[in-house]
Structures are given as structure tokens and as C-alpha cells.
């Protein structure tokens, strides 16, 4: 692997005891990186370790800075995390919730821009408990994107979305990676979507990184059978063996 560039995200010896074995990883801007693996394989743990959740060991560097050591006002410029859960304790106004994603800036123009990008202008003044599940999911995705963070860690960003918004959301995230040069790591369960949109694939298994490479190469390799117990056929994914 070539030497890290200044905008790369470099993780070394990254671990969460009992959940994630020590992992070394370099994530580059310009490509959409998808993280797949069966339930309990460590996808969320890897995202947590990169985001500094749960006292991970090891180091993460973005342009020489470990974002996990920065105070809240500076950290959102470096990293943003979207959890898989869509539960929100308080029924805030949708726009106000999106603004919470950028605690250092308070720039409402950024909030309005991301609301427009995700088609949320009409529901922005409504309370979260008055939105549909899909609208709430898009609001939470907007919250994760609003700060314009260099590293985006998105756990199932298309969950609860209808087919059109699954396509639009993943296309928007692709755009952020390919055109705006963000480092984007997306955890997905949908193998077909990973096949369609990923520029690079990471496969997790039993708390460690089992494979890292181009999607078409990995999705047709025997690792899919050994990790997921499935293989690709002309009709789609089916149990292997």
C-alpha cells in the first residue's frame, strides 16, 4: 500500500476490547467505502472505534490530527457519525435537530442546504414525532452531514427509506465522496446496494477485518461463502453449498 496522503484517514491498532480486534486501516477521500458483514461481525464496532465511542484503543489520524482528542466545537469538522438506531428522546423541531450536528458553527445556511439536498424543506418546521419513519431517517442523515465533516461514518444510512430515497441518499453520499473529497465509510446489510455503489469494500467477520478490496472482486470470491454463507448467482444471492 502506498504512503498515506495528507487527507487520508489512518487508523492503527484500533481496537475495542471484546468487540473489535486490533485493526489497521487507511481510508482515502474520493471513494465510497462500504462496510459489510453478518450480524455481530463488528461493523458498528469499527465505526464506533473510528468515532471514539466506547473508549477504543489505538490511534486515528486525519491530516496528522486525532479528531477524538478535539473538543466538541472543533471535532465535527473532522468526523461525524450516524448510528443505526433512529430513536430520538425528545420531539424537537426537525430543523433544530439537524442544527445539533454542527455545534461549533450554528450556521443556518448549512442547515438549509442539507435540508434541501435531502428533500426535507417541507417538513423542516415539524416536530420529529409528527414525521414518518422515512422522513425521520432522512432528518437524522441530514444531522450527520450538516457539519461537512471530513470523515463520515454512516451506519445503515438507507434504512427505512423507500427505493427512490435509498437511491437518492446513496447517490448523495457518493457525490460527497467522489466530488467533494470526503472520506465516507458506510455500513450496509444490502449486498446488492454495496455491489452497485461501493468503490471499495471492507468485509468484517468475528470482530476483525476479513477482507479489503474492490467490490466485484470480493463479492464473487469464496470469502462470501465463508463469511456470509451465501454466493452470487444469476438470480441474486443464495445460500452457498
Amino acid at each position: 500500500m502506498s504512503a498515506p496522503e495528507p487527507h487520508d484517514v489512518v487508523a492503527s491498532d484500533l481496537a475495542l476490547p471484546g468487540r473489535l480486534d486490533p485493526t489497521a486501516l487507511t481510508l482515502r477521500p474520493g471513494e465510497l467505502i462500504c462496510l459489510i458483514g453478518p450480524n455481530g461481525s463488528g461493523k458498528t464496532s469499527l465505526l464506533h472505534a473510528l468515532a471514539g465511542i466506547g473508549q477504543p484503543r489505538g490511534e486515528v489520524r486525519i491530516g496528522g490530527v486525532d479528531p477524538r482528542s478535539l473538543p466538541p466545537a472543533l471535532r465535527s469538522a473532522y468526523l461525524s457519525y450516524l448510528p443505526a438506531t433512529r430513536d430520538i428522546a425528545w420531539p424537537l423541531i426537525a430543523r433544530d435537530l439537524v442544527a445539533l450536528g454542527d455545534p461549533g458553527a450554528g450556521d443556518m445556511h448549512k442547515v438549509e442546504r442539507v435540508l434541501a439536498q435531502l428533500g426535507l424543506e417541507k417538513v423542516a418546521d415539524r416536530r420529529l414525532d409528527r414525521l414518518s419513519t422515512g422522513e425521520r431517517s432522512r432528518i437524522l442523515l441530514a444531522r450527520a452531514l450538516v457539519a461537512g465533516s471530513r470523515l463520515l461514518l454512516l451506519d445503515e444510512p438507507t434504512a427505512n427509506l423507500d427505493p427512490l430515497w435509498q437511491y437518492r441518499a446513496i447517490t448523495h453520499v457518493q457525490h460527497l465522496a467522489r466530488r467533494e473529497g470526503r472520506v465516507v465509510l458506510v455500513a450496509l446489510h444490502d449486498l446488492d446496494m454495496a455491489a452497485r455503489c461501493a468503490d471499495r469494500l471492507l468485509i468484517m467477520n468475528q470482530g476483525r477485518l476479513a477482507a479489503d478490496g474492490p467490490p466485484n472482486e470480493l463479492l464473487d470470491s469464496p470469502i462470501m461463502a465463508s463469511v456470509f454463507g451465501v454466493e452470487r448467482s444469476a438470480d441474486g444471492w443464495r445460500p452457498s453449498g
Partner: protein
């Protein structure tokens, strides 16, 4: 909350405080004609501490109610329903009647210790993001236990008048407190409320869940401990002087969030002002109620707050059923 609304609330607070100093008016009006020195003494020595305590205790209950509602992500968390005030009362009673330390500082320390123990027990029983039923059951259990232990402590007290002495205080009262006593409540309460205000941003981030709050750079464990310690210190110091007053810590944050866009952390400041207004109002009602005597303050706040609590429970049930 808009600046205009906050200014209006603050203006109401000042007006309320002035009315509180003058209430009831006829005796003061008569005295002003005959003995202005005595009138001034009554206002400064009797009514000023009472008014200050209403503002400080009400403000502290409002601020701490908003903070622990944000912390537990539950609009039914409040110092009284979580057992914090009962724990503080137990701490003060044990310190005064069993350990024999009746100095104001010792009483405050005992009450703060009791409040802290109650909140830690609540956290252990109900968990950091408590379901409403679990939170209320745990709070009820802690309140019942603290109430029983308070009664036991009074029964075991060497003083035969312990129950009589403690009754008025346990029901919550601002009557006959000196300026020195008011200071013992005011200093810890003002410092705690000011420090709770600094936690507004991090507590708002908790809306997004613990994991996101951590990813945004907040130390959630420390935030939890700070909120609990500041609530225990502020509420404990007030309970040591004024006894247990219920429902202000429940009602004030709900109004504050309704007026200010719903942020649980940012509601701390407005809830502080609204709590002060509510307790000031309740104290004035206790003085002018046409029953021929001064009513216990805790009874007034409970009579006003309990129906609100019932409405809140019904409202939450209605929202969940939709």
C-alpha cells in the same frame, strides 16, 4: 426561547418579588403610618429572606428538573419524583436528629449527601435512559424508602418533640427563615444552577443518543456525574433550609420547553426563571389563601402540581397510542 420572552419572564420575576415583599399589604400600610422602622424591619428580616428563598429554591428546582429530565431523556424525571428531595430530607433528618449536628452547614452537608445517594440509586435502578415506568417505579421506591427511614430516624431521635419540630419543615416552608439561612441555601444553589447552565449544550447533544454525543466529543459519563452532583448540591442545600417542595421541578421544565422550541438542555435557563416564578406564586397563595392561617408550601405546590402531573401522564399516553 426568544430574548423578548425571557425579558418578559424576568420582568414578571422582579414584579412578583416586589409584590411578595409587600404581601399582605394592609399591616405594612398601617405600620408605615405609625412606625416606619418597624415596617422596614419586617420587610428586611421576615419578608426578604422568604422572597429570596422562594426565588432561589424555585429557580434551583426548575434548573435541576430540566437538567435531570434531559439526562434521563424523560419529561417525568424531576427532583421530587426521582426521590432526590426525599433523599435530601432523610439526610438532613439523620444529621440533625440521630447524629446530633444541627449547625446549618452540617444540615446542608447531610441533605446534599442524601440527595446524591438517592440520585445514584436511581441511576443504578432505572439506568441512564430510563423508560417512564421504570423511572417512576424506581423514584417511587426511593421516595417510599427515604420517607420510611425519615420517620424511623425521627422515632429513634432522643428528642421527644422530633416529629413536631420536623413536621412543618418536612412539608416545605419558607416561614421564619433568616437572611443567614437564606445565604446557606443561596450560595450552593446559585453556583449549582450557573454550572448546570454550562451543561445545556452537552445535554442537548444527548438528545441524539449517547453514542452520537460521544462522537461529538462529550464525555457522557462525566456529564452524568456532573449533572447529578450539581443537582444534589443545589437541591440538597435548599431542602436543608426549606424542606421538601414538590412538582416545581416537574412543571417548570415542561413550560420552558414549550416556550423555547423543545431543546431539553437549553430549557435549563428558562426553567430556572419559571421555577422561581412558580414557587414565588405558590408562596404568595399560601399567605393570602382565605383559610385563616398560612398553608404549608408543599401542600400548595402539590395541589397545583399533581393535576398537571396527571395531565402530563395522560398526554404522554395519548401520544404513544397514536
Amino acid at each position: 426561547m426568544s430574548l423578548r420572552l425571557l425579558s418578559l419572564l424576568l420582568a414578571l420575576l422582579v414584579a412578583g418579588a416586589l409584590v411578595s415583599l409587600a404581601l399582605p399589604w394592609p399591616p405594612i400600610r398601617d405600620l408605615l403610618g405609625r412606625d416606619q422602622g418597624l415596617a422596614a424591619t419586617i420587610i428586611v428580616e421576615i419578608r426578604l429572606p422568604r422572597t429570596l428563598l422562594a426565588l432561589i429554591y424555585g429557580g434551583m428546582l426548575g434548573a435541576s428538573g430540566a437538567a435531570i429530565q434531559a439526562l434521563f431523556a424523560n419529561p417525568l424525571a424531576s427532583p421530587d419524583l426521582t426521590g432526590t428531595t426525599s433523599g435530601a430530607a432523610l439526610g438532613a433528618v439523620v444529621t440533625a436528629y440521630l447524629l446530633g449536628f444541627s449547625a446549618p452547614l452540617a444540615l446542608s452537608a447531610g441533605a446534599v449527601g442524601g440527595a446524591f445517594a438517592a440520585l445514584l440509586l436511581l441511576l443504578a435502578l432505572a439506568g441512564p435512559r430510563a423508560e417512564t415506568a421504570t423511572l417512576l417505579l424506581a423514584g417511587l421506591a426511593i421516595s417510599a424508602l427515604a420517607g420510611a427511614l425519615t420517620t424511623l430516624a425521627l422515632a429513634l431521635s432522643p428528642s421527644p418533640f422530633a416529629f413536631y419540630d420536623a413536621y412543618e419543615w418536612l412539608m416545605g416552608s419558607l416561614v421564619d427563615r433568616s437572611l443567614a439561612q437564606a445565604t446557606f441555601a443561596a450560595v450552593p444553589a446559585i453556583v449549582s444552577a450557573a454550572l448546570l447552565l454550562r451543561l445545556a449544550g452537552p445535554l442537548d447533544s444527548l438528545t441524539l443518543g449517547e453514542e452520537v454525543a460521544q462522537s461529538l466529543g462529550h464525555d457522557v459519563r462525566r456529564l452524568r456525574l456532573e449533572t447529578i452532583c450539581l443537582t444534589a448540591v443545589g437541591v440538597g442545600a435548599c431542602v436543608a433550609v426549606c424542606g421538601a417542595v414538590g412538582f416545581i421541578g416537574l412543571v417548570a421544565p415542561v413550560f420552558a420547553r414549550r416556550l423555547g422550541g423543545g431543546h431539553p438542555g437549553r430549557a435549563i435557563g428558562p426553567a430556572c426563571v419559571i421555577g422561581a416564578l412558580l414557587l414565588l406564586g405558590a408562596d404568595m397563595v399560601s399567605r393570602i389563601a382565605p383559610v385563616g392561617r398560612v398553608l404549608p408550601l408543599g401542600v400548595i405546590t402539590a395541589l397545583l402540581g399533581a393535576p398537571f402531573f396527571l395531565w402530563l401522564v395522560a398526554h404522554m399516553r395519548w401520544r404513544l397510542s397514536r
